[in-house]
Symmetry: C2
Subunit: 276 residues, 2 copies
Amino acid sequence: MERIEHRACFGGWQDVYRHRSHALDCEMRLAVYLPPQASERPVPALYWLSGLTCTEQNFINKAGAQRYAAEHGLALVVCDTSPRGEGVADAAAYDLGMGAGFYVNATVSPWSRHYRMYDYVVHELPELVEKHCPLTDARAISGHSMGGHGALTIALKNPGRYGSVSAFSPIVAPSRVPWGEQAFSAYLGGDRETWRSYDATELVKTANEKLPLLIDQGDADEFLHSQLHPEWLQQAADAAGHPLELRMRPGYDHSYYFVASFIGEHVAYHAAALRR
Amino acid sequence: MERIEHRACFGGWQDVYRHRSHALDCEMRLAVYLPPQASERPVPALYWLSGLTCTEQNFINKAGAQRYAAEHGLALVVCDTSPRGEGVADAAAYDLGMGAGFYVNATVSPWSRHYRMYDYVVHELPELVEKHCPLTDARAISGHSMGGHGALTIALKNPGRYGSVSAFSPIVAPSRVPWGEQAFSAYLGGDRETWRSYDATELVKTANEKLPLLIDQGDADEFLHSQLHPEWLQQAADAAGHPLELRMRPGYDHSYYFVASFIGEHVAYHAAALRR
């Protein structure tokens, strides 16, 4: 890991690193916010997964989460949304290829060589940052939109690995909406059975560990009725007896102004969960 | 004023408008954050002046100020940093022309036709937003870098117009540093006597209204010793008996991570001043 940005922020440090990823077979960038407490002891970490078109920069620039992370002594670990670079497969669409990895392991050529964001986020990323930064192995995970999908599915698929999970405006049923259908068709192929293992509404039906799900969703979100449908996850969770708190926020849209408005509550939620 | 963005944020609204500016003779964009209190009564406003290369977007995306504005019932009014558009004079350098208006009224061709940011900020902008938005005429002013220069000079030149003023990492003596020398030579011409009326270290020597100046400055700021020199303003203010609080912040640089870390203290400061 080579540090390429190092900026004082709310008494801690907002850093950006680049490193060679084994899982993705390319150079990647990642951001780590270390709160002031990390200068004295290892701290737990909230992993943040961003939405379509984002890099590691959007969340650290726009969400204002560092203030709350500093208050609660929580690190923030933020990765990119796909492999990048020359030789990495891409598509003209903003919602496929670079910037749109969907946190899966692609199985179909040409995507399967680099697009292994699931392995990267679940395994390589925590190993890397826990080795190089003063972090404990207590982890929470959250994300926005495509990253909300990533956070929910990764938490549901890895019982015991995350102490808490939350999401903003998540794609809860990628198998049934245009964004997910396009991405899964490309990355996973046409057999929809294989899609189920990356679909939160499917995973919640059989999750043994009943890790509570916390979701914030704006009711003026321009993608609510076409791509998001949080009520589908609510129905599946209710049927399975899986705890889910879905908070509809009147007037809020899909932007980072929405994330910024409520990220403080999520950071507090994760900090409390990781203290238990 | 035509509203082109309208996003819920911390219980209020982050709006962006475009309008035809008479002072600048071009179309301009400006941002207004209305806190929740503005739905019930007119609120006072903090005017924010941004630094080199910025538009009306940087501060509203990156500073996280809306949270504090919502807490204190203060509106935020944010303008662009220069005239824009086809036919507006420009230069190849990032620190001259578009994105670098320096909050002066240019007197030298080709700049003098559009580059009248001083008149725009002091007169047209408050008239416009106070007419169209639920604002009182209680005003505070602040800014970053070039915008810190703008805030200090505009407050010093207009006694009674602003209830309080502050700045982050301001250019306090543009007449004596490369950024200011280049801009003032172009916009105002070679007679350095005319530059004094836009130089805070000069203005503070003769200011009759002793409006206190509040400045935050990072001591790891990469421009501190080449472009900023807050100690020059400190010396001039001390000699003139003008109150100035200069807070050096260890480890902080020139970025918006610095602004974000302390904007809460500035919003609270202005809110308290405007309540008096």
